[in-house]
Amino acid sequence: MKNSIKVERAKNDITQARLAELAQVSRQTINAIELGKYVPSALLALRLARIFKTTVEEIFQLEEGE
């Protein structure tokens, strides 16, 4: 699963630390999600979408074959 969190962060001028604070997770978690090492739960995905004022589908996309 790919995601556009890095892009959304850049658009909104938010650092990983600030996003982590807003989403109530650690900075390491945001980093792991951005790098595709960790797929967040539905709850965290919805929380991230709300922070960026967009939808989950806009941020997270399935890759081919998934």
Binding site: Q16, Q24, S26, Q28, T29, N31, L35, Y38
Partner: protein
Amino acid sequence: MKKFLLPRWTRYIGLVIIVPMFIYFFIDPDFVGYEPDIFDFNIPVLFYEFPFSEHEGIMNEANLLNELLLSLALLASWLIGFSRVKVEDEYTWLLRLESMVLALFINLLILFVTNFIIFGTLYLWVMMFQLFIFPLLFSLVFALRLQKQKRFSDEK
């Protein structure tokens, strides 16, 4: 799942109380010879010597140093392994779960290897360490993985 975790400060208590265990290990690696009188107590004993040799009644005098240290090691490994990290979230839980699986795998590997290279009564030593090596291994693997992840995200 957070309800199973202990406060963060308990980790430091665990680290402090595990020290006597290691000191004792260096004094008496066999865990049988060094038995100061101060730890002699009259306690109810179900089985005194393996397999079930006779003993005088229910109450018997026993040196509890080994038992106390083992209990301390168990307590310490619980305090270290199950204390909260700074920010407890779902990724931390994944790391914790993966560390537990890895610790179990290493533990089984140790058992497998020691099964072939340690024989006789020395194997009791392996069994004794098996009592607390898993939580200690888990704590170590989890701490290393957390540290690695933190260093990695710092670099990024």
